[in-house]
């Protein structure tokens, strides 16, 4: 197999499974699951950690050589607040990477495209590696690419819903058109969903709830790791085309044979 490394900005990733830190039953379980997943990029909500406290339980459990922290701005409602949060995270966590999440709707946590684009533009100018969480909107993805985001993170289904890839038609267009890595974020509830996203050509997936809320988070983390690897391998190996139409025995053109 050829080496298949994902590159985002200045970092390379062997694992195409990104994970989150919410909803686990304890920091220990979170740590075990993340390590088992072999994920190298782990998002953490700035609002959940005490950045002034060196012995913050969550941060202590994420202190691992293979884990890159990806602070997210969950909780902010506007571009202005997001930029502020990102700057706070950069200073406190010593990383210029940020997962830009602006969902003013606290119920379905759906991203605000207008504020996200505004914040992304500003954050890129401020030197951030911006990973924006957005609707599966192909035009918005191109607009974000234009302002300099290093990837796009369209959703598969509402966050935490575990419903799978419900935005298929739009994800296919995004993957076809994108010049930056496409990471399917939100909605992935089962390893089969993750494998499917990878088969489509997504560059990576981000999974949190499905692992954290599972009865056996470590096993589920491994299952996702394997599914992401399988999906990627299948994508690289080129899937056999799906036959969408029956092949008739040339009733329309067989007369050509008679003409000879």
């Amino acid at each position: 197999m050829t080496t298949d490394i994902l590159k985002i900005a200045d970092k390379t990733f062997k694992s195409r499974l990104f994970t989150g830190t919410g909803k686990f039953s304890s920091p220990q379980h979170m740590q075990e699951a993340i390590i088992a997943s072999e994920s190298e990029l782990v998002t953490v909500a700035l609002k959940r950690v005490d950045i002034e406290n060196e012995s913050d339980d969550m941060l202590l459990h994420l202190n691992h050589s293979k884990i890159n922290l990806l602070p997210n701005t969950s909780g902010v409602r506007t571009a202005k607040e997001a930029v502020f949060a990102a700057e706070l995270a950069r200073e406190a966590l010593q990383t210029n990477w940020v997962k830009l999440e602006i969902h003013p709707d606290p119920k379905y946590l759906l991203p605000d495209p207008i504020e996200t684009l505004k914040a992304a533009e500003e954050l890129v100018k401020l030197g951030f590696v911006v990973m924006p969480y957005i609707h599966a909107d192909p035009v918005l993805c191109k607009r974000l690419e234009d302002v300099g985001t290093q990837c796009v993170m369209p959703l598969g289904a509402p966050i935490g819903s575990n419903k799978g890839i419900k935005t298929l038609e739009f994800l296919e267009i995004i993957i076809e058109q994108s010049n930056v890595p496409v990471i399917v974020d939100a909605g992935i509830g089962a390893p089969s969903h993750a494998a499917f996203a990878m088969e489509l050509g997504a560059d990576a997936v981000l999974v949190n709830t499905a692992i954290a809320v599972s009865q056996h988070p470590v096993d589920m983390a491994i299952a996702f790791k394997m599914a992401v690897e399988a999906g990627r391998m299948a994508y690289n190996a080129k899937l056999a085309p799906v036959k969408k139409h029956a092949e008739a025995s040339s009733p329309l053109t067989s007369f050509l044979n008679d003409l000879n």
Partner: protein, 372 residues
Amino acid sequence: MSFKNTFETYDWATLENEIYKVTPKDVENVLRKDKIELEDFKKLISPAAKPYLEAMAQRSNAITKKRFGNTIQMYIPMYLSNECQNICTYCGFSMDNGIRRKTLSDIEILKEVQHIKNLGYDHILLVTGEANKTVGVSYLKHAIELIRSQFSNISIEVQPLDQKDYETLIESGLYAVLVYQETYHKATYKTHHPKGRKSNFDYRLDTPDRLGKAGIHKIGLGALFGLEDWRVDSFYTALHLKYLQKTYWKTKYSISFPRLRPHQGGLAPKVEMTDADLVQLICAYRLLDEDVELSLSTRESELFRNHAIHLGITSISAESKTNPGGYSVEPQSLEQFEISDERSTEEIRQMIQSQGYDVVWKDWSKDYITTH
């Protein structure tokens, strides 16, 4: 337009009749549905739903885990004052109750805060009676600013205020406001609130609208169980919730479940709500709304709270004192009501963790509050 317009299209007696005539078949039909609506909620809180409690609890547990994960948010109340110009028949702070009145000074507030911080809390709920001259907007603003640097998340449960006052407090760092209607039965409301500004039912009813317009992050709703039929009051609360969610879509909501507790000069509940009733109601809310926060205070017993965290509850308090200065300044002063679960914060933490949940102390950043 405000909730009052919606509220007035409903009639208490009609609702009561509808809820009490629900059949087991109706309940079964609701439980087959994926999406539970307000009409379905009516069925789930009916007496006919009682035999389906386990099924409701299982479903509530699963939905709650999906949305909130294996976590329970912790918060603690801090009473700033027991001064009050209202007469409320059920409340220890009622103006006609001959207790010594106290409002905390800056030094006392900071002393209480020190005690609370040592317990580990990062989300605090400030509580007062209604004494607009001494504990008005400027006092509250000052108190929030005084403690802001020490808490990630500050809520208040105080008298209803005007929209501009809420805007002022939000700018000072206020995250959430809890304002319970007590009862949606207008006549009963009048009986229990005969005197003071609180006797204005309509002003209280439209308080969440004013909060929504002010751009608050979270609004807490509830009815005080014991004043009237809890089923009808809960239907109105759910109606209020759904109205607010549609109107102020950027705001988050929480529901609390206060049952009347004994206190000096106390009132016996008119309508009793049993433990099983409360379980039914908690589960019904969760089935109606996957995302609403459900909060349970130390009014409830140890046993009940130990189990409630599996039923849909997402946030709880511990070791609460319901008197101003109760933590360290003046532990012996008269409380608003007696709490039931008297375990320490540490004991509650252990109880939660032993049941496979992580305790969340911090889920907000004080830096996220800016003007909108």
